[in-house]
Symmetry: C2
Subunit: 341 residues, 2 copies
C-alpha cells in the first residue's frame, strides 16, 4: 500500500477551507487571516506537510535544480570543484544533480537527454575525454537550458567557459626543469582529444622551443587514462629509453606518482637522476617520498565562478548573447621531486 504523502488538499479538507487558502497561509501571502494562518501552519507542521516540488516545477517550469556533469569524482579535482559549485548554488536555493559520465561519450549523451527530460534549469559540464561532438550540449542550449563549460574546453562550442591556463602551467613546469639544469625532458601526456592534454602538451613543446631544446618524438607518451595503472607502462617505456630522460613532466599527479614508483624500482634517484613534476596538487602529493613538485590550480574557485555565471544566466532569465570566458592562472609548487634552481 503506497502511502501517499500529505497534500495541500488534505490540510484544506481537515480545516474545512479551500486549498488556495492553505497555499496562501503557507507562503506568507499578505491577504490572509492571522487565525487561519496559524491554524494552517500548525496543522501543516503536525502532519509534516512537504510541498510537492514536482507539481511546483510543472507549474512554474522551473525546478531549481542544476545538473553537474563530470567525468569522474575519484580524484581531488572534480570533487573540489563540486564543493565550490555547491557552496554557491545551495545558498541560492538550487539543488545540484551530480552525474558521472565515466569519461564515456555515450553516457554523457544519455545524461544530457535525461536532464532535458527532468526539466533541469541549467547545466555545468566538464566533458568526457571521449567526447567528440557537442550536439548534445547544443541541444540543451536550444531547449533554453543555459550551459557553462568548466576545466575541459569544448572548442567551437558557444557557451560560457571557466578554464584554467593549462598551457601556462605546463610551460612554467618545463621551464623550471630547464632552469634547474635538466637537459632531456620527457612528457607523460594525457589521452588524446582532450583540451587539457593538448594545452599541457603545447606548453611543454613551447617551453622546449623557447630554450632551443630539441623535441624528441620518443620523449612524449600518451597515457590512456588517469589511474596509477595507466601510468606504469608509459613510465617504464620512458625510463628504459636508450637516452634516458633526466626529467619527466607528467600530465597529472597520479601519473607522476606512477613515474616516481617506476623510477625508484629501477634504482634511480629522484631528483638526482630524474626530476619529476606533476599537475593538480592532490592532497596526498606532498606526503610522498620525495614530496611531489606539481602545478596548483584554483580548483575551488573554478567551481564557484562556474556556478556564479550559471546563476546569473538563471536569474536574469533573458539570454544575453555575451558569452564569458574566464581563465585562471595555475601556480608552480616546488617540492622535493625536482632539483632546486
Amino acid at each position: 500500500m503506497k502511502k501517499s504523502r500529505v497534500t495541500l488538499t488534505d490540510i484544506a479538507k481537515a480545516l474545512n477551507i479551500s486549498a488556495s487558502t492553505v497555499s496562501r497561509a503557507l507562503k506568507d501571502h499578505p491577504a490572509i487571516n492571522k487565525e487561519t494562518k496559524r491554524a494552517v501552519v500548525k496543522l501543516a507542521k503536525k502532519l509534516k506537510y512537504q510541498p510537492n516540488l514536482l507539481a511546483l516545477g510543472l507549474l512554474q517550469k522551473k525546478t531549481y535544480t542544476v545538473g553537474v556533469i563530470v567525468p569522474e569524482i575519484t580524484g581531488h579535482f572534480f570533487s573540489t570543484v563540486i564543493t565550490g559549485i555547491r557552496d554557491v548554488l545551495s545558498p541560492a536555493g538550487y539543488n545540484i544533480a551530480i552525474c558521472l559520465s565515466n569519461e564515456s561519450f555515450q553516457e554523457e549523451i544519455a545524461i544530457t537527454e535525461k536532464m532535458a527530460k527532468t526539466q533541469i534549469d541549467g547545466v555545468l559540464v566538464s566533458p568526457a575525454s571521449s567526447t567528440k561532438t557537442y550536439k548534445h550540449f547544443k541541444a540543451l542550449q536550444k531547449n533554453g537550458i543555459p550551459l557553462v563549460v568548466f576545466d575541459r574546453d569544448c572548442p567551437g562550442l558557444d557557451a560560457d567557459k571557466v578554464l584554467v591556463d593549462d598551457y601556462d602551467g605546463a610551460f612554467q613546469a618545463v621551464e623550471y626543469l630547464i632552469n634547474s639544469g635538466c637537459k632531456n625532458i620527457a612528457h607523460l601526456s594525457g589521452p588524446m582529444n582532450l583540451s587539457i592534454t593538448e594545452h599541457r602538451l603545447q606548453g611543454y613543446l613551447d617551453a622546449l622551443g623557447k630554450h632551443k631544446f630539441p623535441v624528441k618524438q620518443e620523449n612524449v607518451i600518451h597515457v590512456s587514462g588517469f589511474t596509477h595503472e595507466d601510468g606504469i607502462k608509459p613510465a617504464q617505456k620512458l625510463l628504459k629509453l636508450k637516452n634516458r630522460p633526466d626529467a619527466i613532466f607528467a600530465m597529472n599527479d597520479c601519473i607522476a606518482i606512477s613515474a616516481m614508483h617506476v623510477a625508484k624500482k629501477m634504482g634511480l634517484q629522484i631528483p638526482g637522476d630524474v626530476s619529476i613534476i606533476g599537475f593538480d596538487d592532490e592532497p596526498h602529493s606532498s606526503y610522498f617520498t620525495p614530496a611531489l613538485s606539481t602545478i596548483w590550480q584554483p580548483v575551488y574557485s573554478v567551481g564557484m565562478l562556474s556556478a556564479r555565471i550559471l546563476l546569473s544566466k538563471l536569474q536574469e532569465g533573458e539570454e544575453e548573447p555575451e558569452l564569458r570566458r574566464e581563465v585562471f592562472k595555475p601556480e608552480l609548487i616546488i617540492r622535493a621531486s625536482s632539483k632546486a634552481v
Copy 2:
C-alpha cells in the same frame, strides 16, 4: 523569452490529432494506426520531443530517482560505492541523485527533507559523523520511502543495512601486529559517535585483550576528521610518548599516511621502529614508501548490494517487514609498512 519545450500537445496540434493518440504512438501501444504512428514518431524526432518527467512523476507518484547521501566523495571509498550503486540502478532505469552531507548533521537533515519534497523513490545513506538522531530518516520511512543504510550503521534504526565488519578488520590488523612481535600498539581512532570508529576501536581493544596485552589510555587518540592534516598532531602526540609505540593501527589510510609522514620526519624507521597499518586500501596506498599495509573492503560490492536491496523494495512495492542486514568481511593486506610474521 523562456523557450518552452516541445510537448505532446504541440505535436498533436501540428498533426491535427489528439494528445492521447500522440502519447500512444510514442509508447508502442497496440491499438494504433501504423500510418499515424509513423507520422508522430517522425515529427517527434524532428522536433526533438522530450517527455516531461515531472508531469509523469506527478501522475504516477514515481520519479525513478533514487537519492544517495554520503558524507563526502573526496576519498576512494564513497566514490567507489557510488559506482557500484550506479552500475545496478542505471540499467534498472533509475536515476541517481548524489548528495553530500559534508559530515554535517544539519545538511543531512536538509537533504532528506529536500528529497521528500522532490518525491524521490528511495534513499541510500551513509550517515554523517555528526549525526546523532535518526528522526529525519524515520520521517522518510513514514513517508513510505524505502531506506537502505550502508557502511556506517545507525544503531537502533530499523532499516535495511549493508555493512562491513570493521570490528573484524581491526582485529585482524592488530592481531597481525602482535604476531609480528610488536609490544606496544597504539591506535589512531576516528571521530567519536561514528559506528565504524567504535567497531574498529573495539576490534583493537579485543585483539589486545585476547593476547593479554594491557590497554593504555595514552595509546588511543581520536582524530577529528579524515584529512591528512587531521592526523598530523595526533600522530605526533603518539610518537612523542615517553613509552613510544612500536606500532600504529590507524582508522584509515589517510591518517596512516600522516603517521608515516610524522614518523619519517622524526627519523624513525618503518617498520623497524614503528609498524603502521591503515584501513580502506586507497588506490595510492601501495605507492607510498614504504607501501602501506592496510585493510581492504569489498567497496564496490557494498554499493551493488545496497542498490539491489533498495531495488527489490522499490519493485515489490509492498513493504516487507523482514529487514536485511548484510555484513561483508574485510581482508588484511600486508605490504612493507609492517614487519613480516
